[in-house]
Subunit: 251 residues, 2 copies
Protein backbone atom coordinates (compact mmCIF):
# COMPACT_ATOMS: atom_id res chain seq x y z
CA UNK A 1 0.00 0.00 0.00
CA UNK A 2 1.27 3.47 -0.88
CA UNK A 3 0.80 5.38 2.34
CA UNK A 4 2.07 8.58 0.73
CA UNK A 5 -1.13 9.21 -1.12
CA UNK A 6 -3.45 8.11 1.63
CA UNK A 7 -4.64 11.41 3.01
CA UNK A 8 -5.69 13.76 0.20
CA UNK A 9 -8.99 14.39 1.93
CA UNK A 10 -9.61 14.62 5.63
CA UNK A 11 -10.53 11.22 6.94
CA UNK A 12 -12.72 10.32 9.88
CA UNK A 13 -10.86 9.30 13.02
CA UNK A 14 -11.76 5.60 12.58
CA UNK A 15 -10.50 5.70 8.98
CA UNK A 16 -7.23 7.29 10.08
CA UNK A 17 -6.84 4.73 12.83
CA UNK A 18 -7.45 1.96 10.31
CA UNK A 19 -4.67 3.30 8.08
CA UNK A 20 -2.28 3.59 11.02
CA UNK A 21 -3.01 -0.02 11.93
CA UNK A 22 -2.48 -0.96 8.30
CA UNK A 23 0.97 0.66 8.41
CA UNK A 24 1.78 -1.57 11.35
CA UNK A 25 0.39 -4.66 9.68
CA UNK A 26 2.61 -4.07 6.65
CA UNK A 27 5.73 -2.51 8.12
CA UNK A 28 6.20 -3.35 11.81
CA UNK A 29 9.37 -5.32 12.49
CA UNK A 30 7.48 -8.46 13.53
CA UNK A 31 7.52 -9.09 9.76
CA UNK A 32 11.31 -8.92 9.56
CA UNK A 33 13.31 -12.12 8.85
CA UNK A 34 15.54 -11.53 11.90
CA UNK A 35 12.46 -11.62 14.13
CA UNK A 36 11.25 -14.76 12.39
CA UNK A 37 14.63 -16.37 12.97
CA UNK A 38 14.55 -15.28 16.61
CA UNK A 39 11.21 -16.88 17.38
CA UNK A 40 11.99 -20.02 15.40
CA UNK A 41 15.10 -20.63 17.51
CA UNK A 42 17.44 -20.14 14.56
CA UNK A 43 19.59 -17.33 15.99
CA UNK A 44 23.02 -18.17 17.31
CA UNK A 45 23.90 -16.93 20.77
CA UNK A 46 26.15 -14.36 19.12
CA UNK A 47 23.21 -13.10 17.08
CA UNK A 48 21.05 -12.81 20.21
CA UNK A 49 23.87 -10.97 21.97
CA UNK A 50 24.25 -8.61 19.02
CA UNK A 51 20.51 -7.94 19.09
CA UNK A 52 20.56 -7.16 22.83
CA UNK A 53 23.66 -4.99 22.58
CA UNK A 54 22.39 -2.97 19.63
CA UNK A 55 18.85 -2.67 20.92
CA UNK A 56 20.29 -1.24 24.14
CA UNK A 57 21.22 1.91 22.18
CA UNK A 58 17.57 2.28 21.23
CA UNK A 59 16.32 1.67 24.79
CA UNK A 60 18.83 4.17 26.15
CA UNK A 61 17.64 7.00 23.90
CA UNK A 62 13.92 6.54 24.61
CA UNK A 63 13.78 8.74 27.75
CA UNK A 64 15.76 11.42 25.95
CA UNK A 65 13.35 11.48 23.02
CA UNK A 66 10.47 11.55 25.48
CA UNK A 67 12.10 14.47 27.29
CA UNK A 68 12.34 16.21 23.93
CA UNK A 69 8.60 15.69 23.50
CA UNK A 70 8.06 17.12 27.00
CA UNK A 71 10.08 20.23 26.16
CA UNK A 72 7.79 20.85 23.22
CA UNK A 73 4.48 20.18 24.99
CA UNK A 74 2.72 23.25 26.36
CA UNK A 75 -0.18 21.40 28.02
CA UNK A 76 0.64 20.40 31.62
CA UNK A 77 -1.87 17.53 31.52
CA UNK A 78 -0.19 16.14 28.41
CA UNK A 79 3.21 16.43 30.08
CA UNK A 80 1.97 14.72 33.26
CA UNK A 81 0.82 11.77 31.21
CA UNK A 82 3.86 11.63 28.95
CA UNK A 83 6.44 11.85 31.73
CA UNK A 84 5.36 8.40 32.95
CA UNK A 85 7.33 7.05 30.02
CA UNK A 86 10.54 8.55 31.37
CA UNK A 87 9.79 7.15 34.83
CA UNK A 88 9.18 3.72 33.32
CA UNK A 89 12.51 3.67 31.54
CA UNK A 90 14.75 5.30 34.13
CA UNK A 91 13.04 4.14 37.36
CA UNK A 92 13.51 5.93 40.65
CA UNK A 93 17.27 6.26 40.48
CA UNK A 94 18.01 5.95 36.77
CA UNK A 95 18.89 2.26 36.98
CA UNK A 96 15.74 0.62 38.26
CA UNK A 97 13.49 0.91 35.21
CA UNK A 98 13.31 -0.42 31.69
CA UNK A 99 16.87 0.50 30.73
CA UNK A 100 18.23 -1.42 33.71
CA UNK A 101 16.04 -4.39 32.81
CA UNK A 102 17.32 -4.30 29.23
CA UNK A 103 20.86 -4.15 30.54
CA UNK A 104 20.06 -7.20 32.66
CA UNK A 105 18.79 -8.97 29.56
CA UNK A 106 22.05 -8.21 27.77
CA UNK A 107 24.31 -9.28 30.63
CA UNK A 108 22.22 -12.42 31.20
CA UNK A 109 23.17 -13.34 27.64
CA UNK A 110 26.82 -13.12 28.64
CA UNK A 111 27.69 -9.57 27.61
CA UNK A 112 29.88 -7.31 29.71
CA UNK A 113 27.88 -4.56 31.38
CA UNK A 114 30.34 -1.78 30.56
CA UNK A 115 30.65 -2.92 26.96
CA UNK A 116 26.89 -2.65 26.57
CA UNK A 117 26.56 0.68 28.39
CA UNK A 118 29.40 2.30 26.44
CA UNK A 119 27.55 1.57 23.15
CA UNK A 120 30.95 1.53 21.45
CA UNK A 121 30.48 -1.94 19.97
CA UNK A 122 27.09 -1.20 18.47
CA UNK A 123 26.73 -1.15 14.70
CA UNK A 124 27.13 2.33 13.20
CA UNK A 125 23.84 1.72 11.39
CA UNK A 126 22.15 1.27 14.78
CA UNK A 127 23.56 4.57 15.99
CA UNK A 128 22.45 6.34 12.82
CA UNK A 129 18.91 4.95 13.12
CA UNK A 130 18.62 5.84 16.80
CA UNK A 131 19.99 9.31 16.10
CA UNK A 132 17.45 9.76 13.32
CA UNK A 133 14.67 8.98 15.81
CA UNK A 134 15.92 11.60 18.26
CA UNK A 135 16.33 14.14 15.44
CA UNK A 136 12.82 13.42 14.23
CA UNK A 137 11.34 14.14 17.67
CA UNK A 138 13.46 17.30 17.82
CA UNK A 139 12.72 18.74 14.41
CA UNK A 140 9.23 17.63 13.40
CA UNK A 141 5.96 18.85 14.85
CA UNK A 142 4.87 17.69 18.30
CA UNK A 143 2.02 15.82 16.61
CA UNK A 144 4.45 13.93 14.37
CA UNK A 145 6.73 13.17 17.32
CA UNK A 146 3.77 11.73 19.23
CA UNK A 147 2.67 9.74 16.17
CA UNK A 148 6.13 8.22 15.82
CA UNK A 149 5.56 6.52 19.18
CA UNK A 150 2.60 4.58 17.81
CA UNK A 151 4.65 1.51 17.00
CA UNK A 152 3.77 0.69 20.61
CA UNK A 153 0.30 -0.16 19.36
CA UNK A 154 1.88 -3.28 17.93
CA UNK A 155 4.46 -4.14 20.60
CA UNK A 156 2.20 -6.30 22.82
CA UNK A 157 1.78 -8.63 19.84
CA UNK A 158 5.50 -8.97 19.12
CA UNK A 159 6.26 -9.45 22.83
CA UNK A 160 3.59 -12.15 23.19
CA UNK A 161 5.22 -13.91 20.27
CA UNK A 162 8.84 -13.34 21.31
CA UNK A 163 8.86 -14.27 24.99
CA UNK A 164 7.37 -17.79 24.94
CA UNK A 165 9.34 -18.60 21.79
CA UNK A 166 12.63 -17.50 23.30
CA UNK A 167 11.98 -19.44 26.50
CA UNK A 168 11.15 -22.54 24.48
CA UNK A 169 13.90 -22.35 21.89
CA UNK A 170 17.03 -21.13 23.69
CA UNK A 171 18.01 -23.13 26.77
CA UNK A 172 20.17 -20.31 28.16
CA UNK A 173 17.24 -17.84 28.09
CA UNK A 174 15.18 -17.78 31.31
CA UNK A 175 12.20 -15.84 32.61
CA UNK A 176 14.68 -13.77 34.60
CA UNK A 177 16.56 -12.88 31.41
CA UNK A 178 13.36 -11.55 29.88
CA UNK A 179 12.04 -9.65 32.91
CA UNK A 180 12.07 -6.48 30.78
CA UNK A 181 9.17 -7.75 28.75
CA UNK A 182 6.91 -8.60 31.69
CA UNK A 183 6.32 -4.90 32.37
CA UNK A 184 6.13 -3.65 28.83
CA UNK A 185 2.72 -4.76 27.48
CA UNK A 186 0.79 -2.95 30.23
CA UNK A 187 2.91 0.20 29.93
CA UNK A 188 2.81 0.14 26.15
CA UNK A 189 -0.95 -0.28 26.06
CA UNK A 190 -1.50 2.63 28.44
CA UNK A 191 0.96 4.79 26.47
CA UNK A 192 -0.29 3.91 23.03
CA UNK A 193 -3.94 4.40 24.03
CA UNK A 194 -3.06 7.92 25.11
CA UNK A 195 -0.90 8.67 22.06
CA UNK A 196 -3.47 7.28 19.63
CA UNK A 197 -6.27 9.37 21.17
CA UNK A 198 -4.03 12.44 20.96
CA UNK A 199 -3.16 11.79 17.33
CA UNK A 200 -6.74 11.13 16.26
CA UNK A 201 -7.88 14.34 17.94
CA UNK A 202 -5.10 16.61 16.68
CA UNK A 203 -4.59 15.32 13.14
CA UNK A 204 -7.46 17.49 11.94
CA UNK A 205 -6.40 18.39 8.41
CA UNK A 206 -5.42 16.20 5.46
CA UNK A 207 -1.83 17.47 5.78
CA UNK A 208 -1.63 16.61 9.46
CA UNK A 209 -3.20 13.22 8.82
CA UNK A 210 -0.60 12.52 6.15
CA UNK A 211 2.05 13.75 8.60
CA UNK A 212 1.09 11.23 11.27
CA UNK A 213 0.92 8.39 8.75
CA UNK A 214 4.38 9.33 7.48
CA UNK A 215 5.67 9.55 11.05
CA UNK A 216 4.56 6.00 11.76
CA UNK A 217 6.07 4.76 8.49
CA UNK A 218 9.30 6.52 9.46
CA UNK A 219 9.33 4.84 12.86
CA UNK A 220 8.69 1.42 11.32
CA UNK A 221 11.63 2.14 8.99
CA UNK A 222 13.83 2.79 12.05
CA UNK A 223 13.00 -0.54 13.67
CA UNK A 224 13.27 -2.39 10.36
CA UNK A 225 16.65 -0.84 9.53
CA UNK A 226 17.98 -1.92 12.93
CA UNK A 227 17.13 -5.55 12.18
CA UNK A 228 18.44 -5.24 8.61
CA UNK A 229 21.78 -4.11 10.02
CA UNK A 230 21.87 -7.01 12.48
CA UNK A 231 20.97 -9.53 9.79
CA UNK A 232 23.63 -8.20 7.44
CA UNK A 233 26.36 -8.03 10.07
CA UNK A 234 25.68 -11.21 12.03
CA UNK A 235 23.48 -13.38 9.83
CA UNK A 236 24.70 -15.83 7.26
CA UNK A 237 27.98 -14.68 5.76
CA UNK A 238 28.82 -12.32 8.62
CA UNK A 239 29.62 -8.87 7.31
CA UNK A 240 30.63 -7.26 10.59
CA UNK A 241 31.73 -3.67 9.95
CA UNK A 242 35.07 -2.48 11.34
CA UNK A 243 35.03 -1.90 15.10
CA UNK A 244 31.67 -3.56 15.86
CA UNK A 245 30.90 -6.37 18.34
CA UNK A 246 32.57 -9.67 17.48
CA UNK A 247 30.68 -12.64 18.98
CA UNK A 248 32.84 -15.25 20.65
CA UNK A 249 30.46 -18.05 19.81
CA UNK A 250 30.31 -19.78 16.46
CA UNK A 251 27.26 -19.25 14.26
CA UNK B 1 44.02 -1.03 15.19
CA UNK B 2 42.16 0.52 18.11
CA UNK B 3 41.96 4.16 17.16
CA UNK B 4 40.20 5.02 20.43
CA UNK B 5 43.37 4.79 22.48
CA UNK B 6 45.63 6.41 19.94
CA UNK B 7 46.03 9.89 21.35
CA UNK B 8 46.79 9.80 25.06
CA UNK B 9 49.75 12.09 24.56
CA UNK B 10 49.99 14.94 22.12
CA UNK B 11 51.46 13.68 18.88
CA UNK B 12 53.54 15.50 16.34
CA UNK B 13 51.68 16.62 13.22
CA UNK B 14 53.35 13.93 11.05
CA UNK B 15 52.36 11.25 13.57
CA UNK B 16 48.77 12.46 13.63
CA UNK B 17 48.70 12.52 9.83
CA UNK B 18 50.04 8.96 9.78
CA UNK B 19 47.22 7.79 12.08
CA UNK B 20 44.61 9.55 9.98
CA UNK B 21 45.98 7.84 6.88
CA UNK B 22 45.94 4.56 8.78
CA UNK B 23 42.24 5.06 9.54
CA UNK B 24 41.66 5.40 5.82
CA UNK B 25 43.79 2.36 5.00
CA UNK B 26 41.74 0.24 7.40
CA UNK B 27 38.24 1.72 7.16
CA UNK B 28 37.67 3.59 3.90
CA UNK B 29 34.92 2.07 1.79
CA UNK B 30 37.30 0.98 -0.98
CA UNK B 31 37.68 -2.07 1.28
CA UNK B 32 33.97 -2.85 1.24
CA UNK B 33 32.72 -5.96 -0.63
CA UNK B 34 30.18 -3.88 -2.58
CA UNK B 35 33.01 -1.79 -4.00
CA UNK B 36 34.97 -4.93 -4.82
CA UNK B 37 31.96 -6.32 -6.63
CA UNK B 38 31.50 -3.02 -8.48
CA UNK B 39 35.03 -2.93 -9.87
CA UNK B 40 35.07 -6.64 -10.68
CA UNK B 41 31.99 -6.23 -12.87
CA UNK B 42 29.83 -8.39 -10.61
CA UNK B 43 27.06 -5.89 -9.87
CA UNK B 44 23.76 -6.25 -11.68
CA UNK B 45 22.37 -3.17 -13.39
CA UNK B 46 19.80 -2.97 -10.60
CA UNK B 47 22.59 -2.92 -8.03
CA UNK B 48 24.38 -0.13 -9.88
CA UNK B 49 21.12 1.80 -10.12
CA UNK B 50 20.50 1.32 -6.39
CA UNK B 51 24.02 2.59 -5.67
CA UNK B 52 23.51 5.70 -7.83
CA UNK B 53 20.07 6.41 -6.40
CA UNK B 54 21.14 6.04 -2.78
CA UNK B 55 24.43 7.85 -3.20
CA UNK B 56 22.48 10.78 -4.64
CA UNK B 57 21.10 11.42 -1.14
CA UNK B 58 24.66 11.75 0.09
CA UNK B 59 25.71 14.04 -2.76
CA UNK B 60 22.66 16.21 -2.22
CA UNK B 61 23.43 16.86 1.44
CA UNK B 62 27.10 17.78 0.93
CA UNK B 63 26.55 21.50 0.21
CA UNK B 64 24.21 21.70 3.20
CA UNK B 65 26.78 20.20 5.56
CA UNK B 66 29.40 22.54 4.06
CA UNK B 67 27.07 25.48 4.65
CA UNK B 68 26.76 24.32 8.26
CA UNK B 69 30.54 24.42 8.51
CA UNK B 70 30.50 27.95 7.03
CA UNK B 71 27.97 29.10 9.62
CA UNK B 72 30.32 27.96 12.36
CA UNK B 73 33.54 29.38 10.89
CA UNK B 74 34.54 32.81 12.17
CA UNK B 75 37.59 33.26 9.95
CA UNK B 76 36.70 34.90 6.59
CA UNK B 77 39.75 33.34 4.91
CA UNK B 78 38.63 29.88 6.03
CA UNK B 79 35.13 30.56 4.75
CA UNK B 80 36.42 31.83 1.40
CA UNK B 81 38.31 28.59 0.92
CA UNK B 82 35.54 26.32 2.19
CA UNK B 83 32.77 27.88 0.14
CA UNK B 84 34.40 26.56 -3.04
CA UNK B 85 32.99 23.20 -2.04
CA UNK B 86 29.45 24.53 -2.25
CA UNK B 87 30.18 26.11 -5.62
CA UNK B 88 31.59 22.81 -6.87
CA UNK B 89 28.49 20.86 -5.91
CA UNK B 90 25.78 23.34 -6.83
CA UNK B 91 27.42 25.10 -9.79
CA UNK B 92 26.35 28.54 -10.96
CA UNK B 93 22.62 27.91 -10.93
CA UNK B 94 22.27 24.95 -8.54
CA UNK B 95 22.11 22.38 -11.32
CA UNK B 96 25.42 22.76 -13.10
CA UNK B 97 27.80 21.29 -10.51
CA UNK B 98 28.52 17.97 -8.91
CA UNK B 99 24.94 17.23 -7.88
CA UNK B 100 23.76 17.68 -11.46
CA UNK B 101 26.57 15.44 -12.68
CA UNK B 102 25.58 12.77 -10.17
CA UNK B 103 21.98 13.07 -11.31
CA UNK B 104 23.23 12.59 -14.87
CA UNK B 105 25.07 9.46 -13.76
CA UNK B 106 21.88 8.09 -12.22
CA UNK B 107 19.65 8.88 -15.20
CA UNK B 108 22.27 7.51 -17.60
CA UNK B 109 21.81 4.23 -15.78
CA UNK B 110 18.11 4.34 -16.65
CA UNK B 111 16.65 5.91 -13.52
CA UNK B 112 13.89 8.50 -13.64
CA UNK B 113 15.15 11.97 -12.79
CA UNK B 114 12.27 12.83 -10.48
CA UNK B 115 12.48 9.49 -8.70
CA UNK B 116 16.13 10.16 -7.92
CA UNK B 117 15.63 13.80 -6.89
CA UNK B 118 12.71 13.00 -4.61
CA UNK B 119 14.92 10.60 -2.59
CA UNK B 120 11.73 8.70 -1.69
CA UNK B 121 13.00 5.37 -2.99
CA UNK B 122 16.29 5.52 -1.11
CA UNK B 123 16.92 3.02 1.66
CA UNK B 124 15.96 4.32 5.11
CA UNK B 125 19.44 3.30 6.26
CA UNK B 126 20.90 5.67 3.66
CA UNK B 127 18.78 8.51 4.94
CA UNK B 128 19.76 7.78 8.55
CA UNK B 129 23.47 7.72 7.66
CA UNK B 130 23.28 10.95 5.65
CA UNK B 131 21.29 12.58 8.44
CA UNK B 132 23.92 11.49 10.96
CA UNK B 133 26.57 13.21 8.86
CA UNK B 134 24.65 16.48 8.81
CA UNK B 135 23.97 16.21 12.56
CA UNK B 136 27.64 15.58 13.23
CA UNK B 137 28.65 18.75 11.37
CA UNK B 138 25.95 20.63 13.27
CA UNK B 139 26.65 19.40 16.79
CA UNK B 140 30.35 18.63 17.04
CA UNK B 141 33.19 21.14 17.11
CA UNK B 142 34.21 22.94 13.92
CA UNK B 143 37.50 21.04 14.08
CA UNK B 144 35.69 17.70 14.18
CA UNK B 145 33.38 18.76 11.35
CA UNK B 146 36.40 19.67 9.23
CA UNK B 147 38.13 16.40 10.14
CA UNK B 148 35.09 14.41 9.05
CA UNK B 149 35.71 15.68 5.50
CA UNK B 150 39.10 13.99 5.38
CA UNK B 151 37.78 10.88 3.66
CA UNK B 152 38.52 12.98 0.58
CA UNK B 153 42.17 12.21 1.18
CA UNK B 154 41.38 8.75 -0.09
CA UNK B 155 38.82 9.49 -2.80
CA UNK B 156 41.27 9.96 -5.70
CA UNK B 157 42.39 6.38 -5.15
CA UNK B 158 38.88 4.91 -5.18
CA UNK B 159 37.93 6.99 -8.23
CA UNK B 160 41.05 5.89 -10.11
CA UNK B 161 40.04 2.32 -9.38
CA UNK B 162 36.32 2.71 -10.04
CA UNK B 163 36.18 4.62 -13.32
CA UNK B 164 38.35 2.42 -15.60
CA UNK B 165 36.84 -0.71 -14.07
CA UNK B 166 33.28 0.44 -14.65
CA UNK B 167 34.06 1.45 -18.25
CA UNK B 168 35.64 -1.94 -18.88
CA UNK B 169 33.14 -4.15 -17.11
CA UNK B 170 29.69 -2.69 -17.82
CA UNK B 171 28.87 -2.15 -21.49
CA UNK B 172 26.09 0.34 -20.69
CA UNK B 173 28.46 2.60 -18.72
CA UNK B 174 30.20 5.29 -20.82
CA UNK B 175 32.62 8.12 -20.14
CA UNK B 176 29.63 10.44 -20.36
CA UNK B 177 27.87 8.48 -17.61
CA UNK B 178 30.85 8.98 -15.33
CA UNK B 179 31.52 12.67 -16.07
CA UNK B 180 31.02 13.38 -12.36
CA UNK B 181 34.28 11.68 -11.54
CA UNK B 182 36.41 13.57 -14.05
CA UNK B 183 36.18 16.73 -11.94
CA UNK B 184 36.42 15.20 -8.50
CA UNK B 185 40.07 14.17 -8.01
CA UNK B 186 41.38 17.71 -8.58
CA UNK B 187 38.70 19.27 -6.36
CA UNK B 188 39.12 16.63 -3.67
CA UNK B 189 42.89 17.03 -3.58
CA UNK B 190 42.62 20.80 -3.24
CA UNK B 191 39.96 20.44 -0.52
CA UNK B 192 41.64 17.69 1.44
CA UNK B 193 45.03 19.47 1.36
CA UNK B 194 43.37 22.48 2.94
CA UNK B 195 41.35 20.45 5.47
CA UNK B 196 44.33 18.32 6.48
CA UNK B 197 46.54 21.38 7.06
CA UNK B 198 43.74 22.93 9.14
CA UNK B 199 43.31 19.79 11.22
CA UNK B 200 47.03 19.30 11.82
CA UNK B 201 47.36 22.92 12.93
CA UNK B 202 44.28 23.08 15.20
CA UNK B 203 44.33 19.62 16.80
CA UNK B 204 46.81 20.87 19.38
CA UNK B 205 45.86 18.84 22.46
CA UNK B 206 45.58 15.07 22.96
CA UNK B 207 41.81 15.45 23.33
CA UNK B 208 41.49 17.37 20.07
CA UNK B 209 43.75 14.89 18.31
CA UNK B 210 41.56 12.04 19.52
CA UNK B 211 38.54 14.06 18.39
CA UNK B 212 39.76 14.35 14.81
CA UNK B 213 40.70 10.67 14.67
CA UNK B 214 37.23 9.75 15.94
CA UNK B 215 35.65 12.12 13.42
CA UNK B 216 37.40 10.38 10.54
CA UNK B 217 36.43 6.95 11.91
CA UNK B 218 32.84 8.20 12.16
CA UNK B 219 32.88 9.38 8.56
CA UNK B 220 34.31 6.07 7.35
CA UNK B 221 31.48 4.36 9.27
CA UNK B 222 28.97 6.49 7.35
CA UNK B 223 30.31 5.48 3.94
CA UNK B 224 30.69 1.84 5.02
CA UNK B 225 27.14 1.67 6.41
CA UNK B 226 25.77 3.01 3.11
CA UNK B 227 27.40 0.13 1.20
CA UNK B 228 26.35 -2.38 3.89
CA UNK B 229 22.75 -1.28 3.38
CA UNK B 230 23.05 -1.61 -0.41
CA UNK B 231 24.65 -5.04 -0.15
CA UNK B 232 21.97 -6.28 2.25
CA UNK B 233 19.06 -4.88 0.26
CA UNK B 234 20.19 -5.59 -3.30
CA UNK B 235 22.95 -8.19 -3.04
CA UNK B 236 22.46 -11.93 -2.99
CA UNK B 237 19.17 -12.81 -1.35
CA UNK B 238 17.63 -9.37 -1.87
CA UNK B 239 16.25 -8.04 1.39
CA UNK B 240 14.70 -4.85 0.06
CA UNK B 241 12.94 -3.01 2.90
CA UNK B 242 9.33 -1.90 2.45
CA UNK B 243 8.96 1.11 0.17
CA UNK B 244 12.50 1.15 -1.25
CA UNK B 245 13.63 1.08 -4.90
CA UNK B 246 12.73 -2.13 -6.71
CA UNK B 247 15.04 -2.78 -9.69
CA UNK B 248 13.33 -3.86 -12.87
CA UNK B 249 16.28 -5.90 -14.02
CA UNK B 250 17.08 -9.37 -12.79
CA UNK B 251 20.11 -9.91 -10.62
Amino acid sequence: MNFHAAARNRMSAPDLEAILRQVGAERYHNRHPYHHRMVSGALSKGELQAWALNRYCYQAVIPRKDAMILTRAEDPAFRAEWRKRIEDHDGDDGWSGGIARWLHLATSLGLDVEAVKSEKLALPATRFAVGAYLSFCTNRTLLEAVASSLTELFSPVIIAERVPAMLAKYDYVTADTLAYFSKRPEQASRDSDFALAYVLEHADTPERQQGVIDALVFKCDILWAMLDALQHAYGEGRNIPPGAFQPETAR
